[in-house]
Symmetry: C2
Subunit: 153 residues, 2 copies
DNA sequence: TGCTATTATTTAGACGGCTAAACAAAAAAG
DNA sequence: CTTTTTTGTTTAGCCGTCTAAATAATAGCA
């Protein structure tokens, strides 16, 4: 049987862990946690969007967004204000502190990307990107895997 | 500037999320959570290993292993027994329930892998594997990324 | 108008992951 | 042989992630 270590799926798991480790270390120095920078990234593009939309474009469930935003608000990175037209929606805005993180965080991502593709030619990078796009598509189909029943001996 | 969506690092993040989603859905039906199956995987190879070693080969910190094993013990998947020779180490053993999960879980992984590489030729799969190996190596160097100071306006 | 969906957010609680600090037992040093 | 150091595990507490259920406010419909 093939070793689990040979599975692409397993490699992706390990890579993700390593990638996260490096990102976390760098972002912590800026007072941010991995994941939060993606929220900021969206806000730098479009400030004041409803948090439901923020959750959607991050592909995260609403409760996850709620928690993260609560923490980011406590940390003084963002503020939330109720929409005057629709009292249900809460819109998210940057603070000066949140705005000031744009360049440093983009820089962290840039360095991390450089580290990630070290030793790969531009051709290989493009190829990897294409292959990962296919994988991404494959996994986004929300198929239901068959699960064989457990027969206890 | 390059969009963050074009970064290999960002693709890896999304892929991991999707992969985890599918794995979690399938494993839940077997009464297991993602991550726990990797512990079982190791135990099917080598039962009775010290949990420090288990943590090491999963590349996870000791407290993480402790928590997971506590839950898995509550769930009746494993048991932990103190080593008689060295009272510090706790060795991990499978229960019948944990042993019975071997085939179903391997099957889930096999299906998930098939889903992952759908549409890729064997050549492309080998290529992807090789490229990911390089990325894995790149990210395993525990370099320290430079972090530019934040200048608030 | 008033009742019923529907929609946006939050709370509660579980899980994987981490760091820092406590704890216990064995090994090393004096 | 006693003290100090090292090693293995655990506790506490934080963060991201999820699901299920509660809450609140708008929109729809009779």
């Amino acid at each position: 049987m093939r070793q689990i270590q040979d599975y692409i799926g397993f490699q992706l798991l390990q890579i993700h862990k390593a990638h996260r480790r490096l990102a976390e270390a760098a972002l912590n120095k800026l007072g941010v946690h991995t994941g939060q920078e993606l929220i900021l990234l969206q806000l730098w593009i479009e400030e004041g969007i409803p948090q439901s939309q923020l959750a959607a474009c991050m592909e995260v469930e609403p409760p996850t967004a709620t928690k993260m935003l609560q923490r980011m608000e406590s940390a003084g990175l963002i503020v939330r204000r109720q929409d005057p037209e629709d009292a249900r929606v809460s819109r998210v805005y940057l603070t000066a502190r949140g705005r000031a993180l744009e360049q440093p965080i983009l820089d962290v991502w840039k360095q991390l990307e450089a580290q990630t593709v070290t030793g790969l030619s531009l051709t290989e990078q493009a190829l990897l990107h294409r292959l990962l796009l296919q994988v991404s598509t494959n996994l986004s189909q929300h198929v239901v895997l068959a699960v064989h029943p457990v027969r206890e001996t």
